[in-house]
């Protein structure tokens, strides 16, 4: 008990922050900054949900019991989320004060890993949201598989094989996957594909 009274509170707070918040593979301070931003987003989201729940009709016309209004549980959840978001943000404010740390934080969005994620996500989104539904399913699938393999085996790979070989094998795999998947699901499992 006496330790807690005599010890400096800032040190205690610092040690509790560094205890295990940041995963070992990342630079210190990155997770705190991410937590600060998510904390604020969650706070806003929680308040918005609580507000929408409060505005929800209470169905007085139907004479329902006032304790069973539809907005009760979402309202409580919204408030709890806002509370947790506030804790998350407040806890990270102190650790996120210096501007240099924010530059490091911004750096993770332009790293090679971010590029790989961005490319995967772009391909996945174009396939699911644009190609499927506009092209026949087998063609959309073949195009996606081809683009994915070429992107990662050629553009993002350190040990490149010749472009013609990548393109050739990718084309073969793309056509096989597109046709097989379509046939198997349409006729094997009787799924009507988009």
């Amino acid at each position: 008990m006496s330790d807690a009274k005599n010890g400096q509170p800032s040190d205690a707070a610092k040690s509790s922050l560094s205890e295990g918040l940041s995963p070992p593979q990342q630079a210190p301070g990155i997770m705190e900054r991410a937590d600060l931003l998510t904390g604020i987003v969650l706070l806003v989201l929680g308040v918005a949900v609580a507000w929408m729940s409060w505005e929800m009709p209470r169905l007085e016309v139907r004479r329902i019991h006032p304790a069973t209004v539809p907005g009760l549980v979402p309202g409580l959840l919204g408030l709890t989320l806002a509370f947790c978001g506030a804790i998350l943000a407040l806890r990270s404010v102190r650790a996120s004060a210096d501007a240099a740390g924010w530059r490091v934080f911004g750096g993770i969005f332009v790293s090679p890993e971010a590029g790989r994620v961005g490319a995967t996500l772009a391909l996945a989104l174009i396939y699911a949201l644009v190609l499927v539904g506009t092209l026949p399913f087998w063609a959309a699938t073949a195009l996606f598989v081809f683009a994915f393999i070429v992107t990662f085996e050629y553009a993002f790979s350190a040990s490149r094989s010749p472009l013609w070989r990548t393109v050739l094998t990718a084309t073969v795999q793309a056509v096989i996957v597109g046709v097989t998947v379509t046939l198997v699901f349409q006729f094997g499992f009787l799924v009507r594909l988009p």
């Binding site: 205890e19 994620v117 699911a128 949201l129 996957v177």
Partner: protein
């Protein structure tokens, strides 16, 4: 008791047909392959395969999904031992000793012992399932709205508390987000449409399967593709089939890890990965060769593999008797059961008692299958591990799109999958666990309806939620679990105990 044995015999006989055995054979193999491939998890495998089993009869469909579940949890150990990458999160503890064993040229022995331990662990869990599930189901018949409200909340809170990587608040936040997702759509008491924003497709709510395919499929693909380097496989050419003496030597560890794994499995929303870590920690504390742990201890490997496999039957106990998922994959299984017209919960033993014993039979068959495959198929499984991710992941994503589309045949579910994939990836990168999110989505309706129904029954009075005995116990557990996750409280209490120990030691 005798009734139970008869039903168990019936359950086993039920599946001893060529068609069922064929299903066991292919589904377990698919499960093992899913487990072996890094980036494909048991939850994702079960969620994707729900689509394939859609046209099957209910018992065969659940049989296939169960075999995939057991196979995937086992298959992850292969990759953990030979690549030092857990094939599924459940095998993370296996890497600690499995990989050093492989480096020391005992890869075959490690794979063999992992196989026998997984089989024995599942058997311990199955025994507990047979003994405990009927008792729990009978007790649960007395549960009312008040108890079910607390159980639903308990599931989300305890899952958030125990699966969070290092920060319980992130587990709780994931749970609340899941509960909020469950609030979307028409609610059960007054048929009011909440948070639909004028989108007709949202009226029916957000389905669990597309959400899971996104959170465990697309999100996992993004995680796998983010890594820059691929790992190298360790060569393992020693004998795979272990000697009986090697298995018998660690019998205590096996039983202890099996029991711990089962208990962890029973805790809602806390599954195989925590089962493995729990058994591993307990084995190290009790072991005579403690210093060998992490450097290639056979005991550590056995503990981890027994623990994660025992958690599977353990997780089926609350899943079947309370409709409270024991793990993330069990949540998907509940959704699959509803699709096939099987309603898990307290009424299962009344309406459909043979089903419980059929699940036991499914687990027994799956265990036999992993033992056979595990000891015989060493080389082919090795080859699967070498499939480059650039070639595999696009195919997996195509299956994710089909899997989310196929059940209700609408593109809206594909959009749900994509949205959950992106959000799931961002949450994962910031170290939020996925299991509480799943628990929230599946338990949201139960929590919402039972809270308001309970309040209506007591005419707005909240006291029955705290005074009924079972309610009071669960409520206390929830409060304690939350209080102890506050760092200050935890530190104070720990220091209180160490101080007390120091004072008594000083007095001596």
């Amino acid at each position: 008791m005798f009734d139970g044995l008869t039903l168990l015999g019936d359950g086993l006989m039920h599946f001893l047909t060529p068609a069922s055995l064929f299903n066991v054979a292919w589904a377990t193999l698919v499960g093992i392959i899913i487990g072996v491939l890094p980036g494909l998890t048991a939850t994702m495998g079960v969620a994707l395969l729900v689509t394939l089993t859609y046209p099957m009869p209910p018992d065969q469909a659940i049989l296939c999904l169960m075999c995939i579940y057991v196979g995937a949890i086992y298959g992850g150990s292969r990759t953990a031992i030979l690549l030092a990458i857990p094939g599924t999160p459940a095998s993370a503890a296996t890497t600690l000793d499995g990989y050093p064993l492989a480096l020391a040229g005992k890869g075959g022995l490690a794979m063999g012992l992992a196989t026998t331990s997984s089989a024995l662990g599942t058997m311990v869990g199955i025994l507990c399932l047979v003994l405990l599930a009927p008792l729990l189901a009978e007790a649960a018949l007395n549960f009312g709205s008040y108890e079910f409200f607390w159980l639903a909340l308990f599931g989300v809170v305890i899952s958030g508390r125990l699966t969070a990587f290092d920060d319980p608040i992130k587990g709780y936040i994931a749970g609340i987000l899941g509960l909020l997702v469950a609030m979307v759509g028409m609610e059960g008491l007054h048929a009011y449409r909440r948070f639909t924003f004028g989108v007709p497709a949202l009226g029916g709510g957000i389905d669990l399967i597309p959400a899971m395919v996104g959170a465990f499929g697309l999100a996992e693909i993004l995680v796998v593709m983010k890594r820059r380097v691929a790992a190298r496989i360790v060569d393992a050419s020693d004998r795979v089939i272990p000697r009986l003496a090697e298995v018998w030597k660690y019998r205590r560890t096996t039983v202890r890890s099996g029991v711990i794994g089962t208990i962890v499995g029973i805790i809602p929303g806390v599954g195989e990965d925590i089962g493995a870590w729990g058994s591993y920690a307990a084995a190290r504390r009790k072991s005579a060769e403690r210093d060998q742990f992490g450097k290639g201890s056979l005991e550590g490997l056995i503990a981890a593999e027994t623990g994660n496999s025992a958690a599977i039957p353990g997780s089926m106990i609350p899943t079947l008797t309370l409709a409270l998922p024991g793990s993330a994959a069990a949540a998907v299984l509940i959704a699959a059961m509803f699709i096939h017209g099987i309603r898990p919960g307290p009424m299962l033993m009344v309406e459909n008692a043979p089903f419980l014993y059929q699940v036991v039979a499914m687990l027994v068959l799956a265990t036999l299958a992993i033992t056979v495959y595990g000891l015989l198929l060493t080389r082919p499984l090795l080859r699967i591990m070498t499939v480059p991710r650039e070639r595999l992941m696009p195919v997996v994503y195509v299956l994710c799109v089909i899997g989310s589309f196929a059940i209700t045949q609408r593109l809206f579910d594909v959009y749900v999958m994509v949205a959950f994939g992106v959000v799931g990836f961002v949450l994962r990168e910031m170290r939020y666990p996925m299991a509480p999110l799943v628990m929230g989505i599946i338990l949201g309706t139960l929590l919402d309806v039972n809270l308001r129904r309970g309040l209506a029954l007591s005419n707005g009075d909240v006291s029955p939620f705290f005074t009924r005995p079972v309610s009071a116990v669960i409520c206390t557990l929830i409060v304690l679990s939350i209080i102890f996750s506050i760092p200050v409280v935890k530190r104070r209490v720990t220091s209180l105990f160490t101080n007390a120990r120091r004072t008594t030691a000083g007095r001596d």
